[in-house]
């Protein structure tokens, strides 16, 4: 019996019902995906689907973006042409202001280096950088992230801080071989430990999708004033200490906010700090060694010679010499990779 001759011959489902059924199935699938992809996991994990998508869409977006970039360059040229004279005056004035500061900085740098040498301060080693270009941008209220055209092939890893010439931009939350995803400071999932330069007070910089992220969990009494310089605190070890972030300001809602330094110019070229955490600043073998590994165990006592070896009040000078043979010896040379 053919299907047409069966009991379903006259069964006709209205097309609106089938459309509604398809919509219900699609909504169900979307809700399941939403439940599976929680907000905290989104900021911390490198999903292979996302990585594959970003590796594909990066070059495609570069092609699509070419006309837009061209228009942007034309607008920059037009603006540069019409405002060249005023820009020249402004820059000359700024150079005159900054020259005394440069001289002071050179003098202070010399003095600081001498103090560090005298005190034996263990300064952080320089962090290598990888330069990349921003190729895509999401600016909505729910997500503020960028794609940049450097990836794991250049040593970029998840968690690396990203900066411009003005200051901190965000951190890497996903990588593929040639493309990385940067979570900006303004994203709702972004939380960055910071400090107020003037008072050394600590706080958390929390993004909310607006251009000026909030300062929360501020410690101390009146630790912040309008115009205070905000730097990364380095707490938690994810981001090095002292990277410029912005200036403190009061928001319209009365909360403390930060005017980001990276808003001073378009975020086009960025540098990824190949900094993982404080662990890379020390020798991991030394950290992983068992405690007191440098101390030798005491030799087994020689019962026959014990009375002769026992120090007497008449031999006090021999004791320090005997102890010196069992004391731990300092390493002749520091371990490779140890901070200087």
């Amino acid at each position: 019996m053919a299907f047409r001759d069966g009991p379903f011959e006259n069964l006709k489902v209205p097309v609106a019902w089938t459309a509604a059924g398809a919509a219900a199935v699609a909504i169900g699938a979307a809700v399941m995906l939403l439940l599976a992809d929680s907000g905290s996991a989104r900021a911390q994990t490198n999903n292979p689907v996302r990585s594959g998508f970003e590796a594909t869409v990066g070059p495609v977006n570069g092609v699509f973006a070419w006309p837009v970039r061209f228009v942007g360059q034309v607008s920059d040229n037009v603006r540069g042409y019409f405002f060249a004279v005023s820009e020249n005056r402004r820059l000359k004035r700024r150079i005159a202001e900054l020259e005394p500061w440069r001289d002071q900085a050179i003098a202070l740098k010399t003095i600081n280096a001498r103090y560090e040498a005298m005190l034996g301060v263990r300064t952080e080693p320089p962090v290598p950088l990888a330069t990349g270009r921003s190729i895509s941008d999401s600016r909505g209220p729910y997500a503020n992230a960028r794609l940049i055209d450097v990836g794991s092939a250049r040593g970029v890893r998840i968690g690396n801080p990203v900066i411009t010439e003005h200051g901190l931009v965000g951190r890497v939350i996903g990588t593929s071989s040639n493309v990385s995803r940067v979570l900006l400071l303004t994203d709702v999932a972004s939380q960055t430990p910071i400090m107020v330069d003037r008072t050394d007070a600590r706080a958390i910089l929390k993004g909310d999708g607006s251009g000026n992220p909030r300062l929360e969990f501020i410690r101390g009494e009146n630790p912040v004033q309008v115009g205070d310089r905000i730097l990364t605190s380095g707490d938690g070890g994810g981001i090095p200490r002292g990277i410029p972030v912005g200036m403190a300001a009061k928001g319209v809602d009365g909360s403390w906010r930060v005017k980001l330094f990276n808003d001073r110019g378009p975020i086009d070229y960025v540098r990824v700090m190949l900094f993982q955490d404080f662990g890379q600043l020390t020798n991991p073998e030394a950290l992983n060694a068992p405690p007191l590994a440098g101390f030798n165990t005491a030799p087994p006592p020689d019962l026959g010679a014990a009375p002769a070896a026992r120090p007497t009040p008449a031999q006090p000078a021999a004791a320090p010499a005997a102890r010196a043979t069992t004391a731990p010896r300092p390493a002749a040379t520091p371990p490779a990779g140890a901070p200087r």
Partner: protein, 172 residues
């Protein structure tokens, strides 16, 4: 003898696939990190136009599936929680599909009001979801900066409806 009349049917390529591809291309274009005369490019949810127009053109099984895929594309492109944009788009699609019999043949101003209401509901829904997931409410000003450009896309939805409303005489 009665002559058979040819039924003019516009296939899904014209009113579903092609507009979906165009909306993806436009979204990619607006994701370019460039400032023109010191202003950033707007970033509306372009597929909202399709979510509103498609159920009014005709009911289809393909449209919600394509909307789901478009939503996932937006989520992956913008690094949003996976499924967020899909829920937003499909909620508008479902609301308009349920009220299709009322909306068919209405004036443009009435359609705009419904487009605005549907868009606002979708944005409020996503705002609540993101607030619950991130335990951090997004900025209302930033939210408005995304809602307004999306509302301004209504002429494209209206044009799409006018273009394909009579594409299949069986749905007049």
């Amino acid at each position: 003898m009665r002559r058979a009349t040819a039924v003019r049917v516009v296939g899904p390529w014209s009113w579903i696939i092609l507009p979906a591809l165009l909306s993806m291309a436009a979204t990619l274009l607006l994701a370019t990190p460039v400032e023109v005369f010191g202003l950033r490019l707007p970033q509306p949810i372009i597929p909202m136009v399709l979510a509103f127009a498609w159920p009014l053109i005709r009911p289809s099984m393909l449209a919600p599936i394509v909307l789901l895929l478009l939503g996932l594309f937006l989520d992956l492109l913008w690094r949003q929680p996976l499924g967020l944009a899909a829920v937003s788009l499909l909620s508008v699609y479902a609301v308009v599909l349920l009220s299709r019999s009322f909306l068919m043949g209405q004036e443009t101003s009435v359609l705009f009001v419904w487009y605005s209401v549907g868009t606002l509901l979708a944005f409020i829904l996503t705002y609540v979801i993101v607030t619950l997931q991130a335990a951090n409410p997004p900025s209302v000003l930033s939210w408005l900066a995304s809602v307004v450009p999306t509302l301004l896309l209504f002429p494209f939805a209206d044009r799409l409806i006018e273009r394909f409303e009579d594409g299949d005489v069986r749905f007049r």
